[in-house]
């Protein structure tokens, strides 16, 4: 009697699990392409904000260079990442570098920093953060255009001492009631610029090797 009921119940539950997983598999296969497309668009939108479509003619998402492991700690990356190369008629114009600073007020601040190959900043965006709403979250372009004040800056403009908040004698504004967040962002951007001055020559050489034709060949090899 007990065995019969155990068998009945387990079969019942198993059939439930089976039917629901079928439904889930169907939904998944129906939405998979659409989701991949949405993810791609979201990633691309952030890149396009930094290097607008007038400045380049390649596919920013596909044109990537891996970051050498020795630079991971400078950029704050734990698992490495890719640098996106923007080029105009084959010529590299700018690199978009991912970077993370752990020194925010709460948790990591993930950014992407676009640097022109002449060493000036093309644009910075905070991609993900958990800073205090109303105070530290002004690093987000949705809340304040503070992040645009980095456009055109470089390691020589301002000088090294200028890469700080105004309260500490730097060039960049702090926010009322919040200095930790902007300072973390400023320091990290300066660090990215230093990385770039060290690594940009290698990047240019690598990027020159990876012409669109070569990439197309590589991509077909990976995804036949």
């Amino acid at each position: 009697m007990t065995f019969a009921s155990i068998r009945f119940n387990s079969l019942l539950l198993a059939s439930f699990a089976l039917i629901t997983s079928l439904i889930l598999a169907t939904t998944d296969s129906l939405t998979k392409d659409r989701i991949a497309e949405s993810e791609r668009k979201a990633a691309q939108r952030a890149l396009l904000e930094i290097i607008p479509i007038e400045r380049h003619d390649n596919d920013l998402l596909m044109d990537v260079q891996p970051i050498p492991e020795k630079f991971w700690s400078v950029l704050g990356l734990k698992k490495g990442g890719d640098i996106h190369i923007a080029r105009n008629s084959g010529q590299p114009v700018a690199a978009i570098i991912p970077s993370v600073t752990p020194d925010g007020y709460s948790g990591n601040i993930n950014m992407i920093i676009g640097v022109n190959f002449d060493g000036t900043i093309a644009g910075v965006r905070v991609v993900e953060h958990r800073e205090t709403p109303g105070l530290g979250d002004k690093v987000d372009l949705k809340k304040s255009d503070w992040i645009l004040s980095f456009n055109g800056a470089s390691l020589v403009n301002p000088q090294a001492s200028g890469w700080d908040v105004k309260k500490n004698g730097g060039e960049f504004d702090q926010f009322t009631g919040a200095t930790i967040t902007p300072r973390a962002v400023i320091y990290q951007i300066a660090q990215v610029l230093e990385y770039f001055s060290e690594d940009s020559e290698r990047l240019l050489i690598e990027a020159a090797k990876a012409t669109p034709e070569v990439q197309a060949a590589n991509n077909t090899e990976v995804n036949p």
Partner: protein, 237 residues
Amino acid sequence: MSEVTVAEVAKNGLWTNNPALVQLLGLCPLLAVTGTVVNALGLGIATLAVLIGSNTIVSLIRNHVSDAVRLPAFVIIIAAFVTCAELLMKAYTYELYQILGIFIPLIVTNCAILGRAEAFASKQNVGMAAFDGLMMGLGFLAVLVVLGALRELLGQGTVLADMHLLFGASASNWVMRPFGDSYSFLVIILPPGAFLVTGFLIAIKNAIDNANKRRSAAQKTAPVKGAKRIRTTGHIS
């Protein structure tokens, strides 16, 4: 099986037994995502869809599932619906999906849903169960949206901000700023604000209920004045 009318089910879900204000279920997403109307609307609609779906299926299978495995079976059904909702939101409203983040999969743990499956849908016919899901979902959605609207208005001084996340690019200029550009009131945006505003909403609902009770009590006692003679017919046994 107790008989319930459509009107009772509707009134229960929207007011008397409102999942958020009376049963106080699903408070975690309620408090966490109601910073703006669009977030509240997104999570509310997802919860509504899951509630209708799970109530319907639970009612369909109510006579075929033994008591021993009833709860696990319900949980499987609810989890399946939530995962579908998550996939669909990811596919069609990706930015909103990113903002709501963990709270979409967490709909599974919203006790309002399992509670309705167990207390109502497993005892009623399919139509009534689906309708109950709709009404409970609407009741939850309404509270979410009111809360979101109040916190958005009082906290960051906007009305209908970021609606393009849900309604496409044409909705991005719906936003209004009645208090000017620089207004913000931090406490309301932060979690304590969610508790405060929810508390006030519950207080207002209770005040309305009490006022109604007093009025109907007054109406009942009024006619007694004239009739002082009590006639008894029939037996008292």
